[in-house]
């Protein structure tokens, strides 16, 4: 194939105009000191530096993101998990280990039947699949938005019940995460599921 070369004038062939243009472009980029939040307006203009200073600046994590699974509390700050062990059984990498309370187990409030004695999630094994969240009948475990789980040794990365509860429950991120259409009081997963089941055409 023959490539058609553009005919250059003698002035262009001196390279000087293109060198001057090069100085202009590089200078313009060099002096672009504006720092914008995240991508957004960065790609549209050359006036901002693209680097995100990671530990200080972080991405806004989108809704529906599957981060680390944590235990959540209800509106009265009570443990919702009832130690049914469904998540433990469904967990593909076997990251969850629940120690049930046994016959003499005590709950932290009146009226609650049962709650786990121990609830460990090995964050080194977790694959963030979300099956535990999907299977939980009590809406007690949620994949929240944490993605940078770091530690200095392996033991540190096995999160126990207290840690999971404090990470998951305190700021109601689970609720904000799943709040829809002004529903603020909790998640009501099963209400929705029941409604969905009812809305399906009759099976017979």
């Amino acid at each position: 194939m023959k490539v058609e070369r553009a005919k250059l004038t003698w002035f262009e062939r001196l390279y000087i105009p293109s060198i001057l243009n090069g100085f202009k472009v590089t200078l313009r980029h060099f002096f672009s000191w504006k720092r914008s939040k995240v991508y957004g307006d960065k790609q549209s203009s050359y006036s901002a530096k693209l680097t995100m200073q990671y530990p200080e600046e972080k991405w806004p994590v989108p809704d529906g993101y599957r981060g680390a699974p944590y235990l959540v509390k209800d509106e009265d700050a009570n443990t919702k998990c009832v130690s049914c062990q469904l998540c433990e059984f469904v967990c593909p990498p076997k990251a969850i280990r629940i120690t049930p309370p046994g016959q003499s187990g005590e709950a932290d409030r009146e009226g609650a039947e049962k709650m786990p004695k121990e609830f460990d999630i090995n964050m080194l094994r977790c694959i963030y699949c979300g099956f535990c969240q999907e299977v939980c009948p009590e809406e007690a475990i949620y994949l929240l938005k944490d993605y940078a789980i770091t530690g200095e040794n392996r033991e540190e990365l096995i999160f126990n019940k207290e840690k999971l509860l404090s990470l998951g429950g305190e700021d109601k991120r689970a609720y904000a995460h799943h709040t829809q259409d002004g529903v603020t009081e909790g998640i009501k997963k099963w209400e929705k599921k029941t409604q969905e089941a009812k809305d399906q055409p009759a099976f017979h």
Binding site: I19, G22, F23, T26, H29, F30, K49, L50, T51, Q53
Partner: protein, 382 residues
């Protein structure tokens, strides 16, 4: 005590040379380290990034704009595994980094980096054939690259070595020819015979090809700088220095985008760092040459109003003046270093046939014409 020291130095003159060598080395090495740092930061800013800004003083949280980065880089090079691939030509493989690095440091031997410090002229070897020595040594640097390409026994380094040798024969002649008019102007014995003040001591017994005499010639005013008197020679020399130091747009031996890393693909650890230091030391040496030949060396001719006693434009009497002259010289080098780094992120790479085209068909005739033109002007004004 002081008498004892002066006695030792006067009975062993080579000790002074040794002290100068160590002093120059102690200045060049940090300059190499920080020109790498400058390269990284400037490239980052030009590409809309921020660049390394984390490493500060070790074991503290002080960041200092990342100025500790060269220290961390150096430490990393020392701690990495020094890997020798199988089937390399071992002796040449070991020799090549040294051969690439040593010439770029040896060039500093003849460069006058200051006027006087005490009674000592601030140049390691005040050779009368300074410029010839420089050209001789500078072209040796190519051997290191060619040797590395040959010894690595691998196709990309080999291509890099071939390109480097093709590159050398195309710029070297134009580079030498470009400097000739500079010496046609400077090596004029008429003005050297009526020197005044400290210049007399500075140019005592030096020949006409000595680099100090070029500086003396340019010390009158800014317009006596060769960059204004010989702009064509300056342009050719600048381009040749870019080719000499393997900087973009003429980084054929390295060509990261096509030859992996060119001649140093097979090198790791400190041996790679030697190539790297050699490249940046060559940049500093090239900048120093341009400063000496075209931008007045350590002088700063501020003019009669700002600087009536010629504090910055005559060789120094005192220690402080001498140190200031060296600072001026380093600042001028820094300007050229920034220019070289800047150009790297601006222009695409030339093919090596294009470089040969430019070297042989454009620069060589132009530099010859420049010599003839200078000769005619000198003849007409004589």
């Amino acid at each position: 005590m002081l008498n004892f020291v002066t006695e030792i130095f006067s009975s062993y003159p080579w000790l002074i040379v040794l002290v100068k060598v160590l002093g120059v080395f102690a200045v060049i090495m940090p300059m190499v380290a920080y020109s790498v740092m400058a390269e990284r930061r400037i490239s980052a800013l030009i590409q809309d990034r921020i660049g390394p800004n984390r490493v500060g003083i070790p074991f503290t949280r002080v960041k200092l704009l990342g100025l500790g980065q060269p220290l961390a880089d150096g430490l990393k090079s020392f701690l990495k595994e020094d890997f020798t691939p199988a089937y390399v030509k071992r002796i040449f493989f070991w020799l090549a980094p040294a051969v690439a690095m040593i010439p770029s440091f040896v060039v500093f031997a003849v460069i006058p980096f200051g006027s006087f410090l005490g009674a000592q002229k601030m140049v390691i070897a005040d050779l009368n054939v300074g410029i010839l020595f420089t050209f001789g040594i500078v072209s040796l640097g190519v051997y290191g690259i060619v040797l590395a390409g040959y010894a690595s026994n691998s196709k990309y380094p080999f291509l890099g070595g071939i390109r480097s040798s093709a590159q050398m024969i195309s710029y070297e002649i134009a580079m030498g020819m470009a400097v000739v008019p500079v010496f046609m102007l400077a090596a004029d014995s008429a003005w050297q015979s009526n020197l005044t003040g400290t210049w007399k001591g500075y140019l005592d017994g030096v020949g006409l090809l000595n680099l100090s005499s070029v500086i003396a010639y340019q010390s009158d005013s800014f317009f006596s700088w060769m960059i204004f008197k010989q702009p064509i020679a300056f342009c050719i020399f600048l381009v040749a220095i870019f080719a000499e130091t393997n900087r973009l747009p003429f980084d054929m031996p390295e060509s990261e985008t096509e030859l992996v890393a060119g001649y140093n693909t097979e090198y790791s650890s400190m041996r790679f760092a030697l190539f790297f230091m050699g490249e940046y030391a060559a940049m500093i040496a090239g900048s120093a040459l341009m400063v000496v030949l075209f931008c007045g060396g350590w002088t700063l001719p501020l003019g009669a109003t700002l600087d009536p006693n010629g504090y910055f434009s005559t060789p120094a009497d005192g220690i402080i003046q001498g140190v200031l002259h060296m600072v001026v010289f380093i600042m001028k080098i820094a300007v050229f270093l920034v220019l070289m780094i800047w150009i790297r992120w601006m222009l695409p790479r030339f093919r090596y046939d294009q470089l040969m085209n430019i070297g042989w068909k454009r620069f060589l005739p132009v530099s010859l014409a420049n010599i003839i033109l200078t000769a005619i002007v000198l003849w007409a004004t004589a």
